[in-house]
Symmetry: C2
Subunit: 134 residues, 2 copies
Amino acid sequence: MEPETGTDPTAAVLAANRAFYDAFEASDLDAMSDLWLHDDTIFCTHPGWRTLHGWGAIAASWVALFRNGQNLQFIVTAEHVVVAGDAAWVTCDENILGGGGSGTVAALNVFVRRDGQWHMAGHAGSPVARQGQD
Amino acid sequence: MEPETGTDPTAAVLAANRAFYDAFEASDLDAMSDLWLHDDTIFCTHPGWRTLHGWGAIAASWVALFRNGQNLQFIVTAEHVVVAGDAAWVTCDENILGGGGSGTVAALNVFVRRDGQWHMAGHAGSPVARQGQD
């Protein structure tokens, strides 16, 4: 059954959020490219990295990450969606398996709606410390 | 000269972003409280922490951080603002002095406009690794 993404913006944003992790898991640059806006306003903060801006730099980062071929698996939990007009953001936990270990990244994904479609406008991931808090 | 925050949303969002760091530097819980929305949609990811949701948990985190009394100083650089209707987000680098050291945090701050005022709807900070990238 197709999700009724046309009538429920929260469901549509969640679907876009899942499409992001599907593309990440599949190392699918075409799917990433379809999902993201292609302009200079977009941002991406990979864990430990400085923030990248613009599709050129962000696409290059996906190429580099996908070349590493770590076959990461994402178990995404604790999704919280906020829709504010034609903008939306999702916080979630990326529980990551692969790459020789496991860990959790606290993620924030920003989306904007253009012509009825939700596109990725930003991604930020912050590694969760294994013990205690700051 | 007063900034013309009423007519330029980007300037108003930047002013709100600076107010956040002023409140953080001053360990000023009242200023933090004035700045943030007080509802369950807001989020806050301190570096290394899991994401907190709602004003109750987020206020408690500021109380805990301010009690540490580290007298952090923030030199905020590389501010990029995106305004999308009544929502906006800022990416910036927090160059932090104090707490026995220094470091950079890649930050993402989300704002929403209510009754003409920009309020904080989310904060996420990710530590920048000192050497290389993932």
